[in-house]
């Protein structure tokens, strides 16, 4: 499969988030994660305090998770472990699509047992990727709780799944396509809405 050029200039394409918007959105999500999980709180850790781990879902969730961890360290002074969780082997559409190469899974050295795992992905759509990620997590260990952070929620859920942290909610039609570009993989930051999915 030829790599598609993400975010190429195209009349049928609208910018949802500029590079600056992406940076501000990720920073806000980092603050929300700190607040909701009490990372770096002054209080004596209570019985409910759990170490936080961020796991990005490749390909674009992985760099997103790394950026969030950098910002959380900057804002709270606490560097939480980060990893990547490939879900290809857990997909429910393997037999409907051409064979896809595997991405790498890297868990933090301490593992994820009894941690609060925050899954990170770029776009939340049907929810099937997250279902696969939950299955993959179950094989990787036993986290105390799992939360979900996504840069864009575009609706059209097919499963009872919701995100705990959402960068931007975007109403879309099913024929449209949301493209997230990240400097690490695409050379620049930005989120775009493509009118007709080119399939």
């Amino acid at each position: 499969m030829a790599p598609r050029v993400r975010g190429a200039t195209d009349p049928a394409e609208r910018e949802l988030l500029s590079a600056g918007d992406v940076a501000r959105t990720i920073a806000r999500m980092a603050h929300q994660i700190i607040e909701k999980t009490s990372i770096g709180g002054d209080d004596v850790p209570g019985p409910d305090a759990r170490p936080v781990v961020l796991l990005g879902i490749p390909s674009r969730g992985a760099p997103l998770a790394r950026r969030l961890v950098e910002l959380i360290a900057e804002f709270s002074g606490v560097r939480v472990p980060v990893g990547a969780l490939d879900i290809t082997l857990y997909r429910d559409d393997l037999r409907r699509r051409p064979n896809r190469p595997l991405e790498s899974t890297t868990l933090p050295p301490g593992g994820i047992d009894d941690c609060l795992v925050v899954l990170v992905d770029d776009v939340l759509f049907s929810g099937r990727t997250i279902r696969a990620a939950l299955d993959a997590l179950r094989d990787a260990g036993r986290p105390a709780a799992v939360q979900l952070a996504v840069l864009v929620d575009r609706g059209h859920r097919e499963l009872p799944i919701r995100a705990d942290y959402v960068g931007k909610n975007v109403p879309t039609s099913r024929t449209e396509e949301v493209q997230v570009c990240l400097t690490e993989l695409d050379g620049r930051d930005g989120v775009y809405l493509r009118r007709e999915a080119d399939q």
């Binding site: 393997l94 037999r95 064979n99």
Partner: protein
């Protein structure tokens, strides 16, 4: 990819994709308590072995089970083959009973190809797990995976395959795969144990092991296949061992980084001494370990993708 019958003609890009998948699977499962992936749930894999095997059969079975496929073992002894059923009828029976993939080992060269032909249009794939003196592609893939792991790269490496090349499907599969991946292969054997037509293979040929050793990155020792030898290929086991066995002295002639491989089963004291087999330079148990991941990768590439229109 629907069948894996030989490494001859296998697209190098496809081979590298399988090796990369095996590598990722190995890293994914490392240190895991639950070594089970749901990827091939509901797919049925049948192993059909007409010849003895320990590692190939076990590693295919483990690979299938770790991917959640249903694995069924049919052995020639305990099946209707013993009543005289032909290979073709047995294969069609297995396909009709719901096999998505048949993994076959057979003493006749070309058996897997015939099987794939007979199963055309049924949707059942075939993996060659060794056919006579022809090919054993998954062994070559796991050897390549082990070499890549130990040496970093395969392209440009000089690799000797030593011993009973004539009867060895492992040697044939490795010659095709390793040369396709850019390695230089040299076959080292007495003239009686080299196949006719070896001049047309993309390899160098030598009869002197000692002269080759200092320039090698890896040496692959082959088992002397007594079950296929019905003639005087060499005067005595002792003489063969002296001329072509890998012992402590020969190990010291190899460069520091060079790796020793053996596809197993080993005949200690014949083609390889116990000292060499147990030395850290030998990657023989790693080969077996990688065999499971490579076979998982093969199953993934054959069974996980979109179904082709039959």
């Amino acid at each position: 990819m629907k069948h894996l019958l030989s490494t001859d003609g296998l697209d190098p890009a496809q081979a590298v994709a399988v090796l990369d998948t095996a590598d990722t699977l190995k890293r994914t499962l490392l240190g895991r308590e639950v070594r089970k992936l749901p990827t091939l749930r509901g797919r049925t894999v049948v192993t059909m072995f007409y010849e003895n095997s320990t590692r190939t059969r076990v590693s295919f079975e483990v690979a299938g089970k770790w991917m959640s496929a249903d694995v069924i073992n049919v052995s020639a002894g305990g099946s209707s083959v013993g009543k005289g059923e032909s290979l073709r009828d047995t294969a069609l029976t297995l396909s009709a009973a719901g096999a998505d993939l048949v993994i076959v080992r057979h003493p006749a060269s070309g058996a897997a190809h015939r099987l794939a032909g007979w199963l055309e249009g049924t949707g059942t794939g075939v993996v060659n797990a060794g056919d006579g003196m022809h090919e054993h592609p998954t062994q070559a893939l796991l050897d390549a995976a082990t070499l890549r792991e130990r040496l970093g790269t395969i392209a440009g490496r000089r690799i000797a395959i030593v011993g009973d090349v004539l009867h060895s499907r492992v040697a044939r599969s490795n010659v095709h795969l390793l040369t396709a991946l850019g390695a230089e292969v040299v076959l080292v054997a007495p003239p009686t144990l080299l196949p006719t037509g070896v001049e047309s293979w993309p390899v160098a040929v030598s009869h002197e092991l000692d002269a080759e050793l200092p320039a090698l990155d890896a040496v692959m020792m082959l088992r002397v296949q007594a079950e296929r030898m019905h003639g005087g290929f060499f005067p005595s086991a002792r003489e063969y061992s002296i001329a072509y066995g890998l012992n402590e002295r020969r190990l010291s002639l190899l460069p520091e980084h060079a790796v020793v491989l053996h596809p197993g089963p080993m005949l200690r004291g014949m083609e390889i001494s116990a000292f060499v087999a147990d030395s850290p330079r030998a990657a023989i148990t790693e080969q077996v370990r990688n065999g499971v991941h490579v076979r998982m990768a093969v199953l993934y590439h054959l069974l996980a993708g979109e179904e082709e229109a039959a």
